[in-house]
């Protein structure tokens, strides 16, 4: 159907699924009339009416709590939280109810719903519009956590998420919403949840990234290639459940790993990934796993955020470090 950027691919996935399945609906702040502040739900209200593309009152806990109720009674809600920084009020409902309803009811009820969240920095936005909080999400049992990095994956993963029998948190790298265009099929298709993607193949080290950091990691891999270093770059795509076999088998081959994430370092997923590598590939490891991450601080505003977010140069430094060990 031609080339789409990431946010268009998301809109296209929503349109496709709402056409196919009358129980699919979207809800959230400004998602109806406005079509979303990023235009991810553009045109849905015109086509499906205000009930299936619903502007809700301004209440994040309310939106996801309502979504659970809708899902319990047969709808397939796709809720939008406008920005990552407004997730905390919704966590209560996610952690206390959405993630537990299957366990709590001993399998009688489930929560087949999706929560879409534009996440991460790099758009020079005000406070609370630039957070990366995947660690909290992945730390919560009972939900799936998905991070597309390309338009093609965004559509395929979102369709998978909508059809999934369990709650899926779908984190969209807002910084690259419009940065890349690629061929996205018009017909519905799925990209499986829980499978990493090999972005490029190399023998010298393994690099693991997701979401907006995949692009920065690619740029770093390009810089490294100029020094003759070949990187095996994996885009995890799903953080929970995580395709750890992808990076473990890669590390068995390369012996070295760099993990890149935007979120704070301490108890970030870099720590989890490093732990899994040492659990299963310690004999092949030739250097400690290097983490290139955000700092253990609040995300700074526009004038400083480029220091906070891992840059290709900072990643390259990590690459050199892991090789020099």
């Amino acid at each position: 159907m031609g080339k789409l950027n990431l946010v268009q691919a998301i809109q296209n996935a929503l349109m496709t699924e709402m056409q196919l399945d009358p129980s699919v609906m979207v809800l959230g702040e400004d998602v109806g009339r406005e079509g979303g502040v990023f235009r991810a739900t553009e045109g849905l209200q015109e086509k499906f009416g205000p009930q299936r593309a619903m502007d809700t009152p301004l209440a994040e806990s309310g939106i996801v709590g309502l979504a659970l109720g809708l899902a319990l009674n047969g709808m397939r809600p796709v809720a939008e939280i406008q920005f990552d920084g407004f997730m905390p009020p919704a966590w209560d409902q996610i952690i206390s109810h959405i993630s537990r309803i299957r366990t709590r009811s001993r399998g009688r009820f489930s929560a087949p719903l999706v929560i879409r969240i534009p996440y991460g920095g790099g758009i020079r936005a005000p406070e609370h519009h630039s957070e990366a909080t995947e660690a909290v999400l992945v730390h919560t049992p009972g939900i799936k956590v998905v991070y597309p990095a390309t338009p093609y994956d965004a559509k395929g993963l979102l369709i998978s998420a909508i059809r999934d029998p369990d709650p899926v948190l779908f984190l969209e790298p807002k910084r690259i919403y419009r940065a890349i265009r690629e061929e996205v099929p018009e017909d519905p298709y799925t990209v499986p949840i829980g499978e990493a993607r090999l972005v490029r193949e190399g023998k010298d080290l393994t690099m693991v990234a997701w979401g907006a950091m995949v692009r920065e990691a690619e740029k770093a891999a390009d810089l490294a290639a100029q020094e003759g270093i070949r990187v095996d770059l994996l885009d995890l795509r799903t953080l929970s459940p995580m395709d750890d076999q992808a990076f473990i088998s890669s590390v068995r081959k390369t012996g070295r790993a760099v993990v890149v994430h935007e979120a704070p370092r301490t108890c970030g997923l870099g720590a989890e990934i490093a732990a899994r590598i040492q659990e299963e590939a310690i004999l092949q490891l030739q250097a400690p796993v290097v983490r290139i991450t955000g700092f253990d601080t609040v995300v700074p505003l526009a004038k400083l955020e480029h220091h906070y977010i891992p840059s290709p140069e900072r990643i390259l430094r990590g690459i050199r470090q892991v090789l020099a060990f």
């Binding site: 406005e34 005000p126 004038k303 400083l304």
Partner: protein
């Protein structure tokens, strides 16, 4: 049925208006301190603030400022309420309160610097009794209640005022704040600027209540709806709420009915959700116009004064912009140093490592 409350008992909410759109004053409702001289002084501030708002929008268009949330149309709500506060009172703003913050002593250059992405702009001078702005909608009224409660415990004769929009009244935290203020009889003013929209979502999709003011009743305290474009009514209502707070009668909810004449922020296109006719219908209700008309009627204002006030304001703004842009560029250390009073060792290592990296890049 016996005992059943029908919401229709609240159908007839009466809105307080003192200064009408044609500049006519209801003298018997006018607070005595709001003299003609005071009106004149506040009008000068409103002109300055209107121009400051426009200047910010221009700077954003030129790429010299980041996203900005304009308050054009809401000057009376902000200036009138801030002017009614006492010296010791504390303000808890959200992001659209540049005018109210300025009235409480926040330098305009600090406000500009903040929107330019420089966090130093949020470090207000020590004597300024204004909290940093709260971006998460509807969450900070709770802090105003807690602060007021502490003042009550310490027997300080002050109140707090929390500013928020109509959208904020949908948040759970807003209700928790109202409820706690009611239970604790906290000396707090809840000041809602009902500017009709929360980004694109109209007030009618935000609450099924007839008014926002009436929500106070359910929490056991008083509420009032005022014409938010009426400087005198906003001033009078805030003054009364303050007196109630200081005399131990607890909280008040003020709903200032107003209209956001500009976009939600510079990232927003309001033509997607509202018509030009609607905007135009609000133009005759412009809060500046009616104060000017009133002052002209009392021979306290003329075209010459108008021109000189505008010229003076523009010149002052030139200096504001200069000073905002002359704020020292923040250093990377500033990312780290405010995290905790004493920097933990791990964080210090992160900082040192990052600074070393920056050195390597140079060399």
């Amino acid at each position: 049925m016996k005992g059943f409350f029908d919401p229709s008992i609240l159908e007839e909410v009466e809105m307080l208006r003192i200064l009408g759109p044609e500049g006519t004053m209801e003298e018997e409702l006018r607070p005595p301190e709001l003299t003609d001289e005071k009106m004149q002084e506040l009008y000068r501030e409103m002109v300055f603030l209107r121009l400051a708002d426009q200047r910010a929008l221009n700077l954003q268009r030129q790429g010299r400022m980041g996203t900005y949330a304009p308050f054009m149309g809401q000057e009376a709500a902000q200036v009138g309420s801030a002017a009614a506060l006492g010296e010791g009172d504390w303000m808890f703003p959200s992001f659209r309160e540049g005018a109210a913050m300025y009235m409480r002593g926040v330098p305009m250059e600090a406000i500009f610097a903040y929107w330019m992405g420089n966090e130093a702009g949020q470090r207000f001078p020590d004597e300024v009794k204004v909290m940093p702005i709260s971006i998460p909608v509807g969450t900070h009224p709770l802090h105003a209640v807690g602060f007021a409660l502490a003042a009550k415990i310490k027997r300080e004769p002050i109140c707090t005022i929390a500013y928020f929009g109509d959208g904020a009244t949908s948040k759970g935290d807003f209700h928790e704040a109202m409820n706690m203020a009611g239970v604790l009889k906290a000396p707090t003013i809840f000041f809602c600027q009902n500017n009709q929209y929360a980004i694109s979502v109209p007030r009618t999709l935000q609450t099924a209540s007839r008014s926002i003011a009436q929500k106070a009743l359910a929490y056991g305290f008083g509420g009032i709806q005022v014409d938010g474009n009426d400087l005198a009514a906003v001033y009078a209502a805030t003054k009364t709420a303050r007196q109630r707070a200081l005399s131990g009668q607890g909280a008040t909810l003020i709903e200032a009915v107003t209209y956001r004449l500009g976009p939600h922020t510079t990232a927003d296109d309001p033509t997607r959700y509202r018509t030009q006719e609607e905007v135009e219908a609000w133009l005759p209700l412009d809060p500046l116009v009616r104060v000017r008309k009133y002052l002209e009627k009392c021979c306290m204002w003329d075209q010459e004064m108008e021109e000189s006030v505008y010229a003076f304001a523009q010149e002052k703004l030139n200096r504001v912009v200069q000073q905002a842009e002359a704020f020292p560029e923040p250093t990377p250390e500033e990312i780290f140093i405010y995290t905790l009073e004493k920097m933990p060792q791990r964080l210090e290592l992160q900082m040192k490592d990052y600074l070393a990296f920056l050195k390597e890049l140079e060399g």
